[in-house]
Symmetry: C2
Subunit: 250 residues, 2 copies
């Protein structure tokens, strides 16, 4: 798997890993459309913790995450923060038709994004209906994810929230998954306790305590601060409060 530390040069020479082509936007593009996308595209990389744009800032591009993880967050006047989007590789950032970002966009890990200047991208959308269609599909998926997230925030206990987050990350980012064998699954958690707490609507202390509980009960095994092994994925699933037959992410 391509690492976040791979130089940009790699991508400029051979864009075959670029998700905007292959998964996000242009799976059905013809050669000349790819050519046009190629012309308006550029890469940016960010270090873990770096802010990509602040809420309210002008945002003259749309982008797709190539490697790493980015987050969307909202902040209240008194500093309370809530994450409202978690962007994994191939996820799309930016809203055509809006000049400024409504959220803080932050790189949670070292991140590479494939950016398109907004104006030419919007022009291209007009002439290429399936890009718009693809964008609609992606937006509907994000809306479903947001609604699942609302259930988590509104009704789940701290323990259920943690279990849910772990299963969501394990399922969504296959690239994190280092090993899978008869129900065992192992990966590096790409979020700090603080980022987890912002995702879950908890304090970082509660996150830490619940992680410890899951550890003591053998539902997860930790190695260092970030590496996590889930010995029995199904057993963890039972702690999420979700229907056993899985939701939209299955």
């Amino acid at each position: 798997m391509t690492r976040a530390t791979t130089s940009l040069k790699t991508y400029n020479q051979d864009c075959s890993d670029c998700p905007i082509r292959h998964r996000a936007v242009c799976a059905r593009c013809e050669t000349d459309e790819l050519e046009r996308l190629e012309q308006i595209k550029y890469y940016r990389s960010f270090e873990a913790g770096q802010t990509v744009v602040w809420a309210g800032d002008n945002m003259d591009f749309v982008a797709s995450v190539v490697t790493g993880i980015a987050t969307l967050s909202q902040t209240m006047e008194d500093g309370r923060r809530q994450m409202v989007g978690l962007l994994l590789p191939s996820d799309f950032i930016g809203r055509p038709g809006r000049a400024t970002s409504a959220y803080d966009v932050t790189a949670a890990t070292d991140t590479v994004m494939c950016c398109f200047r907004k104006k030419p991208f919007e022009d291209m959308m007009l002439n290429t209906p399936h890009i718009g269609q693809r964008l609609l599909e992606m937006t509907l998926d994000e809306l479903d994810a947001a609604r699942e997230w609302m259930l988590l925030l509104g009704r789940k206990t701290a323990r259920e929230k943690i279990a849910s987050l772990l299963t969501i990350i394990a399922r969504r980012d296959a690239s994190l998954q280092l090993s899978v064998a008869d129900g065992e699954l192992s990966f590096d958690l790409p979020l700090t306790r603080e980022a987890m707490s912002e995702y879950l609507g908890l304090t970082l202390e509660t996150v830490s305590r619940q992680m410890s509980n899951l550890r003591k009960e053998g539902l997860i095994v930790t190695e260092g601060k970030r590496h996590i092994t889930i010995p029995d994925f199904d057993r963890l699933l039972e702690e999420t409060g979700d229907d056993s037959d899985g939701g939209f992410l299955m």
Copy 2:
């Protein structure tokens, strides 16, 4: 203002109130496109409390709320419920490209919906790009609303949640607004305490208590169970925890 009790006949004879034409889908449609929409459209009405579709049920139509209020909710195995969508007149229901509903759809008040059989609607979307574009816009707006809602669920206090809900309803459904004069604003709350609690991720007792508090402090005045007057809208706004210059809904 057209009432929820207006007979369907009114609409079949003259669809000028039908929001699917005017606001939701077809603002830019030509005559022959309107003609085609007309052919695949039908109306359904529901009484307050009635379920429109259950989560997981087959849903062979998409629709637009004409009058009344509908809700989307998720239920956990043990009965915990979280509302994830509040649909006011002109709002759109149903996801093209998905056969079943992911949520319970319920009529919160007496409701009339303008429905389109899904297959012909999807066919029409393919030939009429601006319908897809409009749908993308609407979906992006819903996503923004969902994210604002996530902040509410994850980080706001019960008091802030109530104040937020009141301002959201007051702003979103102009039809509810009976009187407006120098900051005073009056409307019929279209939700029961229970529905409010499902929206806010609270129990109905907490909703009731916080409503009482706001009443005692003069932030709201109630008349009967549902009628609410907000003597000073800006003062209530200060209780929401939101930035004073308003969010996306302004």
